[in-house]
């Protein structure tokens, strides 16, 4: 009996679990995504042309500093951008559907169903006034039209799936009665409640202790394997990305500056920003001394310099970098937006 049957989902077509570099049509395809912030006639672009592809069953990581536009990109897929932000141009196709052409009702059919999302802070992301079982069951009832009892029974199976002990009792627990790790497990149960094909995890372990972080990551990895879900994993933690992802996109100032299969990115990074990020991963056996950092700050919204936005902080920059926006270097699956790579 497969885990899917265990959860009472048998009427859905089996989803092939495809490895890295899977051929065929991607599950999610983003092209030239632009997201702008502002009001009336003053708009600042926070995401400036992101291309991203995720195939069924694949895990794609998006890394970058805060403000690089990675979370905005994730929210844009769910069409849940905050007030004041809007998608100014681009194309997004999910399983053959044009996401930008859907109305609110059409989006609601996908949200929480074919696409699930896990948010960063499990304390604030769960409603404090409702038992967790109620919150999961509400989503199940919305999408599967089940009765209350049946939805709660499925919610119990989901809590069991995400590794919560005594799931029947926990259904009645309020978020404040659970630990951070438990809450993130509940959050995961909610996100996969209706068998999504894509799971968007926006820094799912950032708010957790390191030990709990490892447990939650292991749980996420197990579940996505068992259910054959494609994952878009947003993180600033390169180590985590290296452990779980098939492919990685590095974002800087609203653009993907380097994208590759995870081994290629870690063994032969082409963009100086990626190289500097890799240098900043702390290692336990390092000799003492100051932690390496990337000097300078990412450019502010609305003040992104011409040329390559990373040039002012780049140790390999030359004259052309500040003058002209870099072309794309490409070799097979590996791409980088850098003049130095093209030399």
């Amino acid at each position: 009996m497969s885990p899917r049957d265990d959860l009472g989902v048998s009427d859905m077509a089996p989803i092939p679990v495809v490895g890295r570099g899977a051929p065929g049509k991607p599950l999610l395809e983003i092209e030239g995504l632009h997201i702008a912030f502002g009001a009336r006639d003053r708009w600042f672009e926070a995401v400036r042309g992101v291309d991203l592809r995720i195939h069924a069953g694949e895990v794609v990581g998006v890394v970058g500093e805060s403000g690089s536009g990675k979370s905005l990109t994730a929210l844009a897929i769910m069409r849940l951008l905050p007030r004041g932000a809007r998608i100014s141009s681009g194309r997004m196709r999910f399983a053959g559907t044009d996401l930008l052409a859907l109305d609110e009702r059409g989006m609601n059919r996908l949200r929480g169903s074919a696409m699930g999302m896990i948010f960063q802070d499990p304390l604030t992301a769960l409603n404090p006034a409702l038992p967790v079982g109620h919150q999961i069951a509400d989503s199940i009832r919305t999408h599967q039209g089940l009765g209350r009892a049946a939805a709660l029974a499925r919610a119990e199976a989901l809590l069991d799936l995400v590794g919560i002990a005594r799931p029947r009792e926990r259904l009645r627990a309020f978020p404040h009665e659970l630990s951070g790790g438990m809450r993130q497990r509940v959050m995961t149960a909610l996100a996969v409640a209706n068998d999504p094909r894509l799971l968007i995890a926006d820094e799912p372990t950032t708010a957790l202790d390191v030990t709990v972080q490892a447990q939650v990551m292991a749980m996420l990895d197990r579940i996505r394997r068992e259910l054959g879900i494609a994952v878009l994993f947003i993180s600033h933690n390169l180590e985590l990305v290296a452990e779980v992802c098939d492919r990685v996109a590095v974002m800087y100032a609203g653009r993907v500056v380097e994208g590759a299969v995870v081994e290629a990115l870690f063994e032969a990074p082409r963009h100086p920003y990626t190289r500097q990020l890799l240098r900043c991963i702390p290692r336990l056996n390092d000799e003492t001394g100051p932690m390496p950092t990337i000097p300078g700050l990412p450019p502010r919204l609305g003040a992104i310099p011409g040329g390559c936005p990373f040039a002012p902080r780049c140790d390999a920059a030359f004259a052309r970098c500040t003058a002209e926006a870099p072309d794309i270097w490409r070799r097979g699956d590996h791409m980088a937006r850098c003049w130095e790579a093209l030399r």
Binding site: R83, N108, G116, N127, Q135, T142
Partner: protein, 316 residues
Amino acid sequence: MLVLILRRAGFSLFSLLVVSLILFALTRSIPDSPARIVLGDEATEEQIAQFEADHGLDRPVLVQYLAWLERLVLHGDLGRSFTTRLDMNAQVTETLPVTLELVCIGFVVALTISLVLGTLSALWRDSPVDYAARLLAVLGVSIPGFWPALVLVLALTVERDWFPPGGFVPLGEGLAEHLRSIALPCLCLSVFYMAVLTRMTRSSLLEVLGQDYMRTARAAGLSRPRVLLYGLRNALVPVVTIAGVSFGHMFGLALIIERVFNIGGMSRALLTAIQQRDYALVQAVVMMFTIIFVVANLIADLLNAWLNPRLAARAA
């Protein structure tokens, strides 16, 4: 939950005791003896001593208090007025329902309108509806309570004849006439609280709408009305608290409104008692108001504990 109810009820009882003690001490600390007020300036010292002995006023204040409390708690007896010799229970049972009706209807009107208006205002932020609601809220809190009453009397009763200018028609004399007689008083009573509660609903819901868990609910694909219902449950906590306080507070404004519309509710009893320095009656009326105030707050507290269990857990 039961523990919480008992704790809150116990606390309410304790505050009632404290208030009754303060109230009793205040009315007894007035320099003039009630005997002097009742018997007049010409009364001799003997007459006054006799009166005080008859009414137990010569006993220590604490003993008087305990006797009064015992009558009130065990027999529900508010005592008799020193001046009019009238049974105060009769007076309260005659006037309290009138005031209670005005306040209850005014409260329900204020709460209903403010919940609807506040919600629309938050949902359609910066829309004409929102501007109208905000303007109404500012006007409602800034205008003194009696002013709309006077204007409405002038505009709708003196110049047009849509409503009676004053007086109270009991329900027994016909529903339509009864409602017509209380429509304006109830409306005037509700304006201020409508404004306060609208603002509270709006700001509280706006805050909740920006919370992460609202985004989670939308990410789960719940419909807009369902998400709003989630939000209201969280946003109502401060509204319920303010509504509880408002309900008690409305009795104060009701006194003025009853005066303007010439309605024989608690205001007549209280104001007459104050004018005649009938301290026993003042004490009885204020005690009634206190009980209502404390009970309203108790209900608000329990409602909030149900709405947001985290608050309850923190309090317990």
